[in-house]
């Protein structure tokens, strides 16, 4: 099903154009007046990001939400037929939701970076060009329907992020953080590479041509093939581990999470927003869309361990967050905790928990993005740019708007009812409870700890007596309000009326579960009271969706 307008390719290509434009604008005007060049660079970058948002809106109109479980707007072209790789894009509900998340966050990050890099045009132009370049990679990786293409983007994304942390970060140890980030990711990625190749080798050679099919790497082909011809047990488990390790590092899951706090501490706030808000979702997205469908038996085999790791992540991340003295590290650790919830939901194998995790990915991106950006604004106001929480205090009276929005963002991190994160968290917990009650029960502790780390932090920074030297700080300016407002609005709207987002993620979750059916996984009977109370969820349960056949054997 190829549409006349290649919306997804446009979404991928446009940020590249934007990046080139930013770069060339600055190159043309670097020798001119500094301020003029600065304005031009910012303007071009913001315009490019906003046009991308318009493209996204257009894509949504072309997307049929009632069939969110199938990949739509697909485009498939042979890319490297010799090794079975195609340029194949297409989006189901989850992919589109994550694309939307990245596309919405980028203009805000651009806007937030306005005053960063000390107004140095040359540095700013590189930074903004990298942000747009990264946007192209982010969009592409979510819509890739070809394992090879996904892998290529998964790895290539590291390069711009590496430069964004190492080149534009803060603090003496930013290079260390950048290298640590790169080495962790690459180590995982290279092991995944071996698994990707081995996966390809599992596809039989076509006797007619003497080679493997030219579209062997299409995810749908692979899933369809392995559903009928399961791999040997050991092979499947090894390949699963190869993929899972890369995704666990990316996600990041305990115990391979240690790069994240360092990276977040030393990256500019905008980079952290994209890194934690969007990029790390590629890890959980990969688990959801590659690990589970490709290796259903191995996934169920590994699920108990993964669930334990996820629960450990939840508690460990939360406890570590409580103990942090650095604001950025604290937010990073809260994310470790939240990623634990996402992974828990995915590996609980119920349609409720899986759709909850999908939704969680989006909500967490917004919530963490808001927190990182606000923390960035706060730190930029400090005379010494201190990231230490102890250097702040009593700012509620000085910067009430900043304090208020920070509180809202913080409350979304602890999943206050009425905010969007509540919906997804409760879905994950209830869904998990049906499969493994004890895991859900322990995970609930994470919610309690979340209240601690959010409220304690708020208390230490914003309440009490104002610290010396901080009583003259300016409140959020118009630009900064524009950055935060959309995020707060989305948090509130999706908290009160989550149906549109739920529509996107529900059917894909059903498809994932149907892919797992070959491993004997059934959706547990829906006896929990919550689902009965919520009409939409029960309705979703009724329509049993499977991976449609035309997609399963695409050629």
């Amino acid at each position: 099903m190829t549409t006349s307008v290649p919306w997804l390719s446009l979404l991928v290509a446009w940020p590249l154009v934007g990046a080139a434009a930013v770069w060339l604008t600055a190159a043309a005007r670097t020798r001119g007046v500094g301020a003029g060049a600065l304005r031009a660079v910012r303007g071009v970058a913001l315009a490019a990001a906003l046009v991308e948002v318009a493209l996204l809106v257009a894509t949504f109109t072309a997307f049929d939400t009632s069939a969110a479980g199938t990949h739509q707007l697909t485009e498939t072209y042979p890319w490297i037929p010799q090794i079975g790789a195609s340029y194949a894009v297409g989006a189901d509900g989850v992919a589109l939701a994550l694309v939307a998340l990245s596309v919405v966050l980028v203009p805000l990050v651009v806007l937030a970076a306005w005053k960063e890099q000390d107004g140095d045009v040359r540095r700013l132009r590189h930074y903004l060009a990298l942000v747009l370049l990264l946007e192209a990679f982010m969009v592409a990786v979510f819509v890739a329907r070809d394992v090879f293409l996904f892998y290529v983007l998964f790895e290539a994304m590291l390069v711009p992020v590496y430069f964004m942390i190492g080149g534009f970060g803060v603090g003496a140890r930013r290079r260390y953080a950048a290298v640590k980030f790169l080495l962790f990711s690459l180590a995982g990625g290279l092991i995944m590479l071996a698994a990707v190749i081995a996966l390809y080798v599992q596809v039989p050679i076509d006797p007619a041509t003497g080679a493997r099919p030219e579209d062997a790497f299409l995810t749908s082909n692979l899933v369809g093939y392995f559903a009928e011809n399961p791999m040997p047990v050991t092979t499947e488990r090894l390949l699963f581990l190869g993929f899972f390790l890369a995704f666990a590092i990316k996600a990041p899951l305990f115990p391979v999470h240690t790069w994240l706090p360092d990276a977040a501490q030393h990256a500019p706030a905008g980079t952290s927003t994209l890194l934690v808000g969007v990029l790390d979702k590629v890890g959980t997205f990969g688990m959801l869309t590659l690990c589970l469908p490709l290796f259903p038996h191995a996934s169920t085999w590994a699920a108990p361990v993964v669930v334990v790791l996820a629960v450990v992540s939840i508690l460990y991340g939360a406890l570590m967050a409580i103990g942090q003295s650095d604001l950025m590290r604290l937010i990073a650790y809260t994310s470790v905790s939240h990623f634990g919830f996402i992974v828990l939901g995915i590996f609980a194998f119920t349609s409720l928990s899986v759709s909850g995790s999908s939704l969680y990915m989006v909500n967490h991106g917004i919530s963490t993005g808001a927190l990182f950006l606000l923390a960035g604004f706060l730190i930029a106001r400090h005379p010494e740019r201190s990231q230490r929480i102890a250097d702040y205090g009593g700012l509620q009276k000085v910067v009430p708007v900043l304090a208020g929005t920070f509180l809202v963002a913080g409350l979304s991190a602890l999943s206050l009812p009425g905010l969007s994160t509540f919906v997804s968290e409760i879905m994950v917990l209830v869904g998990t409870f049906a499969r493994s009650p004890w895991a859900a029960l322990v995970a609930v502790l994470g919610v309690v700890l979340a209240a601690l780390y959010v409220l304690l932090t708020y208390q230490r920074i914003f309440t009490g007596g104002t610290r010396e030297g901080l009583d003259e700080l300016p409140d959020l300016g118009a630009r900064e309000k524009w950055v935060v407002a959309p995020l707060v609005v989305v948090l509130l709207v999706l908290g009160l009326y989550p149906a549109p987002a739920l529509d996107l993620v529900r059917e894909p979750a059903e498809v994932t579960l149907s892919d797992l059916a070959v491993a004997g996984v059934e959706d547990p009977p829906r006896s929990d009271p919550f689902a009965d109370a919520d009409g939409t969820l029960v309705e979703g349960q009724a329509s049993h969706v499977t991976r449609s056949t035309d997609e399963g054997s695409e050629s």
């Binding site: 490297i80 290529v152 290539a156 290279l190 071996a194 190749i197 081995a198």
Partner: protein
């Protein structure tokens, strides 16, 4: 090169690419004797470039030749001179890669940069530090023998992978090696290091040649011939020599392979690589690293396939023994290349270890031992060669500077023109002299801020070597490791996947040291700068500045072509992979 040349017994046409290059080499020698010094260099450069370009064109013509490609009724490949030369798609592919890379390398060799000096000693015969040497410098002498020497080496490299006769292979080995020994000794600066490199290279090279020739003798001992077809026949006969003298077969094959592995720079035959790569003039290092490796891998594959296919017919167990040895070499090569490479502080040595590591990665593909392996090897050689020539070309442009009061050659006056380009030199009124290459890693700190384009392309080459997706190195690694994982039967049989896993882990280590250079170039302040915690900047040669000299043109072209190639082959490798897939046709 047309019909009138065709003698009845010899199909000259199929030798045309080789003849053109060797002929141009001979003409180059005559030019040395008869052309006035004024224009000699220009003539030599043009001749060398034309010869390699013409050879490439001829290779392309031959590639489409029906006799070479074969048809439904006729087998592919042409045997010339009774099998002394075998013109088949595989040999032509390697020849094409060699001349293409040689063309790019000659561009770099020919560049005098904005200093007006090339990379070679005015008179290599002068004793380093002697008054005579001083005199040759002041006179502004130039050694244009470099170009014929390079052409002879290229000629040898073209014969090497395209011969079906072990003795001819040995002659080719010497033809390509001897000029390289000489060229290695000709560096303009750090003459002693250069001569030491040449001496080591010569000694070890002679040793390896001896191994090779001894192996050939043993092979002749059991096969009664040095023709690979005969060797194959003899090996494939059950109950043949293998039954009566198995030791001779294994030792003979191993010795021949050892000689070839030396040229590849595979561990444990790699010891010469870092010293030679470091000491040789950098443009020659680039040429040697890229082209020799391509040619030697071509020869290695030819011998290996004959031996292995032959043994598979008669004695699979012996074949296994042989492969165990190859496994060990592959593993060692990867580990040595990456682990030792990670602690290097000299750019050229680091690239040398990287080249050892890449030899290991290519071997991973080779050991997979299927059609996929051949395709992967051919593609990998091209990709590796492009990145290597490009990277060494960049190295030639990054130079040390010193205040001019030091004893410097008179001809360096032109170098002062380059000095004002360098804003970081605070000694505005005091002219600085541009010296040799700044190869210490610490001197590369902050290069990305002063010369973003140069540092950017260098990073591109490094990323490609590291195998980051969307660069050619990734596709190359993918195909090579893919061949290993697929194994001989193409279905994941065999256990060569272990090699691929080790290869992947070694790649991760290799990434570390490539990235270290990128960190240095982009994130570290130049040595002496007050950036926080630039730990590597401490050991820099104090006082000496670093500058980037402008290329006189050719190097820029070479770097641009290499960078473009690395990018294009990374994003759209399809057409070249197709060509490489055609190149898997072999005449034993």
């Amino acid at each position: 090169m047309n019909d009138s040349f065709v003698a009845p017994a010899v199909d000259w046409l199929y030798l045309a690419p080789i003849l053109v290059v060797l002929g141009a080499g001979v003409v180059g020698v005559l030019i040395e004797a008869f052309v006035p010094a004024r224009v000699r260099r220009t003539v030599q450069v043009v001749l060398a470039l034309l010869a390699t370009a013409a050879a490439f064109a001829l290779v392309v013509v031959l590639w489409r030749d029906p006799a070479v490609q074969g048809s439904d009724v006729a087998p592919y490949g042409v045997r010339v001179l009774g099998g002394s030369m075998v013109i088949d798609p595989f040999g032509l592919a390697v020849q094409g890669i060699v001349v293409l890379l040689a063309f790019l390398a000659i561009l770099v060799i020919a560049d005098r940069t904005s200093t007006g000096q090339d990379a070679f000693a005015p008179s290599a015969a002068a004793v380093p530090g002697s008054p005579y040497e001083d005199l040759t410098r002041r006179k502004g002498l130039e050694q244009t023998e470099v170009y014929p020497l390079v052409l002879f080496a290229v000629g040898g490299m073209m014969i090497f992978p395209a011969t079906g006769n072990l003795l001819v292979m040995f002659v080719a080995l010497e033809v390509l090696s001897l000029p390289l020994y000489v060229l290695s000794a000709m560096a303009r600066r750090r003459r002693l290091l250069s001569q030491e490199a040449s001496f080591k290279y010569f000694l070890l090279g002679a040793f390896a040649s001896a191994l090779f020739v001894f192996g050939v003798a043993l092979v002749y001992g059991f096969a009664g011939s040095v023709d690979l077809v005969e060797v194959y026949r003899s090996l494939a006969t059950p109950g043949g020599p293998l039954a009566s003298m198995p030791g001779l077969v294994v030792v003979g094959a191993l010795l021949v392979l050892a000689g070839l592995l030396f040229k590849i720079g595979a561990a444990p035959f790699h010891a010469w690589t870092p010293d030679v790569y470091q000491g040789a003039p950098t443009p020659i290092t680039g040429f040697m690293a890229a082209c020799t490796k391509a040619a030697a891998f071509g020869a290695l594959l030819r011998v290996l396939y004959v031996v292995s296919l032959g043994l598979a017919q008669s004695s699979p167990a012996t074949r296994e023994d042989l492969f165990v040895a190859l496994w060990v070499v592959t593993l060692l090569t990867m580990v040595v290349g990456t682990v030792v490479g990670a602690v290097q502080t000299d750019v050229k040595r680091l690239l040398a270890y990287s080249s050892i590591a890449h030899a290991g990665f290519i071997l991973v593909g080779v050991v997979g031992f299927s059609q996929l392996s051949l395709r992967a090897t051919v593609f990998y050689l091209l990709v590796y060669g492009l990145a290597t020539v490009g990277a060494f070309a960049v190295v030639t442009l990054v130079r040390e500077t010193a205040p001019v009061r030091e004893r410097v050659p008179a001809t360096v006056g032109a170098g002062e023109a380059g000095a004002p380009d360098n804003p970081s030199d605070d000694s505005g009124e005091q002219p600085v002299a541009v010296l040799g290459e700044a190869t210490h890693l610490a001197q590369w700190a902050g290069l990305g801020r002063r010369s973003p384009w140069l540092a950017g392309t260098f990073s591109l080459f490094l990323l490609s070597m590291a195998g980051i997706p969307l660069t050619a190195g990734f596709v190359a690694k993918f195909t090579a490791f893919g061949a290993a994982i697929a194994g001989p039967d193409g279905q994941g049989g065999g256990s060569t996947w272990v090699l691929a896993v080790v290869g992947v882990l070694a790649s991760a280590v290799a990434v570390f040291f490539y990235v270290r250079i990128i960190v240095l170039m982009f994130f570290t302040a130049p040595a002496g700068g007050a950036d926080e915690g630039s730990g590597e900047g401490a050991g820099a040669s104090e006082g000496a500045g670093v500058t980037v000299v402008r290329s006189a043109g050719p190097t820029t072209v070479a770097i641009a072509v290499c960078a473009l190639g690395v990018l294009l082959l990374g994003v759209f490798p399809s057409p070249v992979l197709d060509l490489a897939a055609e190149a898997v046709k072999f005449v034993p």
